[in-house]
Symmetry: D2
């Protein structure tokens, strides 16, 4: 850690910072510049809180110089982690598309969806049984019953399932229905109690980025899961909140190469929630794969105009087939593969 002293800091204040560093078992190295004195704290700085040092008199700024995350960091684990979801690999050379409707509605809708997913050559299916909704007065999801419909429809086509967990108390139900991938939604990215719970199970987790989470906060959220023992984590960029109002969120495509540099874990993209409109999905999907994403989470509905929620963001089965063709072409150009 580096501690920058104010230009009017006294010798006594400098001494007091040094003492605090040494109390924590680190070594202090003092460098006196022309305008400022800078103190380096040498040792494992993860135990030093910059805010504590900034509260000391005469300190202008205290900065970490090592990353606060460890298990998820590429710095300590150079090779790409490849996650195996019932035989379907994600990461490394393999790109996986995950598709399905926003909400589980009826057995018929789920059956048609599963067939359309399969027909497009997609190998993993998504669907929401428990839904986080902004208003208490709108459809809240079909719950456990929905989970059952989903499991049944997906099993018929041999598709592993991905669904969102909103509350730690639902985790047992998720285990009972053998959910193959647990999704942590954008509003739960910093629900630390929930992260600790999914850190204890042996099921891959898709961790969506919080609506206005920084890359660093997102990596720390993953570190919470990893610290519990579950290292099968997939990051999912889904658009961030900005000043722009034309579209729901701004897909942060830069996050893809940046995460690939900072972590060894796979990174996927949700183009449907990012833009919020079906007509934007193809362009955003292509951009994500071209930028190096390891997969996509795409909303598809057998009949979008009848969907119970987010009706205008789901593409239809025919559009999914055509999108898959483009994505395979792009994957090939950059030396990757969609099986």
């Amino acid at each position: 850690m580096i501690i920058v002293m104010s230009n009017v800091a006294t010798e006594e204040q400098i001494e007091s910072v040094i003492k605090r560093i040494e109390e924590k078992g680190l070594e202090a190295s003092v460098s006196r510049g022309t305008e400022r004195t800078v103190i380096g704290a040498i040792g494992d700085e993860r135990s030093l809180d910059p805010e504590l040092l900034e509260s000391l008199p005469g300190v202008e700024q205290a900065l970490h110089i090592v990353k606060p995350y460890k298990i998820v960091a590429r710095e300590w684990h150079k090779e790409d982690t490849v996650i195996d979801i019932q035989g379907n690999l994600i990461g490394g050379k393999q790109i996986q598309i995950i598709s399905g409707p926003c909400s589980v509605e009826t057995p018929d809708q789920m059956e048609k969806s599963a067939k359309a997913v399969k027909a497009a050559g997609v190998r993993l299916m998504r669907g929401g049984a428990f839904k986080p909704r902004t208003s208490p007065y709108t459809f809240q999801g079909t719950g456990v019953e929905g989970l059952e419909m989903f499991r049944k429809a997906a099993d018929k086509e041999g598709l592993p399932i991905v669904t969102e967990l909103m509350d730690a108390r639902q985790l047992d139900t998720f285990m009972k229905y053998k959910v193959d991938v647990i999704q942590i939604g954008t509003r739960s990215m910093q629900n630390f109690e929930l992260l600790k719970e999914v850190g204890k199970v042996n099921v891959p987790v898709i961790l969506k980025r919080g609506m206005s989470a920084t890359i660093s906060e997102w990596l720390m959220a993953a570190e919470y899961i990893a610290a519990g023992g579950n290292h099968n984590i997939i990051f999912c960029e889904r658009g961030i909140r900005t000043f722009e109002t034309y579209y729901r969120n701004v897909l942060d495509v830069t996050a893809i190469p940046v995460l690939k540099k900072e972590t060894h874990l796979p990174v996927i993209v949700d183009p449907s929630h990012a833009g919020g409109k079906a007509w934007m999905v193809a362009a955003l999907s292509r951009a994500a794969i071209a930028a190096g994403a390891d997969g996509l989470l795409v909303e598809m509905h057998p009949n979008p105009c009848e969907a119970w929620c987010d009706a205008d963001q789901a593409i239809n089965p025919q559009e999914l087939i055509s999108l898959m063709g483009e994505l395979r072409g792009i994957a090939k150009v950059i030396g990757r593969e969609i099986l």
Copy 2:
């Protein structure tokens, strides 16, 4: 609701929108302009989802014209709601300051804190036993033990307590320790399952604004609590996330008059988390009260340099006393009162 058709919409598409509106039990009113046809849906539009209509062919935009919240809206409840916390009123003419340390640390620290709170003429005490922390490797709060220390220290001075609930599974413990005001933190503002739970108890709730929540989302989050039956809700503005990096968050002072217009419920401000630095607290506190806030949530620590978390944002007991004097002066100028 108003549905704006695209300039190339066909008669058939217009008919199909009208049919959909009528199916939902509303009446359609068509207005043909020079460049666009606009359809009004007359009736209780809360049952109509704009996204569903936007997914229909030929529709350019669908807009709600009434507010999606009801119980919390001033539109339906003109007078200010005054909340009574063990005899201490908040709202109407009365302003309440709530103060105390960020974290419950030790019995001694809590005792000193409670005394300082009392000495400054503050009537409600805050303190965190369960702490949401960005890193899994930093101090996570003293938990149930902390809650016990807090209750004890506060009781000695006759102060009602305010503390944060992070997980629905902790609610029973909160009831056992007779927490006087439950705080829902910024990261939990859209933890809908948690909101539903606190909607069922009969304890006042402070609902902090999510880091990047819009006014409308915030009101809807309160509506979740209210819909459960608990109408004792206090909004707490605590700074929003922006591009500025000099300070932790930007205190959104405009939210104060806006909320006072939109809702009858009290609105308070947390100047400590907003700025993130103790030296900003007085200026932000004065601004909040001058703008019409019904109270403040101010971090104070008997010895800030020794605090276990957020050390550089707590003011000390002497600063709290001096701040109270200024706030009383400002309250008087605008015809309000801090007892």
Copy 3:
């Protein structure tokens, strides 16, 4: 325009709004709902100011329903505009890459740059002679002398030149050196006096998006140029300002399909300023082309470590060659062409 009256608006207030609409030569159509009265203003609403109507008593909201831009709108001009820069087409099927150094430094650097641009198969060259710099104490560009070096080096390789205009008083100099494309930088997007000036000349203009400009403001800025008579406008997305601090800006890839829908004019992307780091350029460039961009503005320097400004964002000649190969592959997948 639609005017939504407050739920307590009186008949008199409604009448007064109708009168105001009719005074402006439009027709009023009144629709009385269960909770609100809505008034439509039928006719050319561009002459009505929503803010004026919102200042009338009883009005809750006034909304435009037609777009405020006209010449640049695809609504009135369905086919893609293809811009011809000395025989090099941009728009339609043709994608153009524009490359070169951030700043014009020396004749030698410009000669090497031009050769590298040409060698990579790039047909248009960029370079900054006048530089907007955040600090008055850093390098401010080589000015007119730089423009001369640039013209000379580019002519030798037969490359048209693209360079930034910061001040209307420099326009004559630009005409003298026959600048082929005038770039309006991000800080000048709403320098309306400058936009009016470039609207009067017959030279293609690249209009960069303001750091926090909405799509609508950006289109209106282009409309300023177009209204002056110059319709050869190319939009350039270059990253927007958000809360994220890991990278300089967030490349808004969603803006690409959105602009392609809203306007008939070409849209290019500057991946270099967006990310701010050379190692991000390839990923962002691929994403932009995959999302449908009509071109790129890529910084390349013959020796990046020696560049006088933005040293860490320029790629080197070898990286440009390799990037061009990937971009050609992606263009082909989506049915487009880089000559």
Copy 4:
């Protein structure tokens, strides 16, 4: 400056950074930590560009430790600067309110405005003759003719005038009409050529914050003016752009204490453009003064419903009188004065 090397940096790379620092005439101080080597550059770091160092192999991060601004910094000029506008002081103990209409419209409107300004006890008058408008199709200001009306009406009441300069070519006209304070608008904050021009004249300048300018960029923009020789600069916070859509901008009240700490120059606030609605002006004005602002720029119109632009954000003469009373009360509480 501090240069943090990557954890895999070689000795050769470290040497190369040291060499570069020494070439620039600074001294290098190397500190080898457990995970990273950190190099300090001792001397006048303003001549070192962090981006240049970050482009060197093995460098992870380069950070300035001194502020890049000098003339405007409080670090080098401890006492508050008090600016004298024709005998009216701003800064130090004195608070000044500046009021008047958004646009100069007619001689009659300006005469009524000047009378209302005077009657409220306000000593400085504002009004816009040249207007930056988002659309080329809306009212663009009354220009030189407007400036003349303004000068005449203000002279009659003995009020100094404040008006916006949008283009360097208008500066002579401003001098001719003896504009007392030149306003640089939010869209021009980084129009560096314009800043250089106003740096050369001897007239106080109000520098509005760019819509999404950081505190640091804003201070650097002021440094541009100061570097030219004009040190009579007044900062004006006018709301920043965020994700919130309920109000036009978010008034950044935290910027007030922060600027008062960073610079010796006065800081005022524009509550009218910040919120964008007349009913928010009083609350925001009180908050600004309570937070320590040295003044306000408040839009007032003799007949707001008839204003030619921004009609819904101007308060009326009676509201201005009542606001002045509240502000005087708050100023007194914090030991300041509105004459």
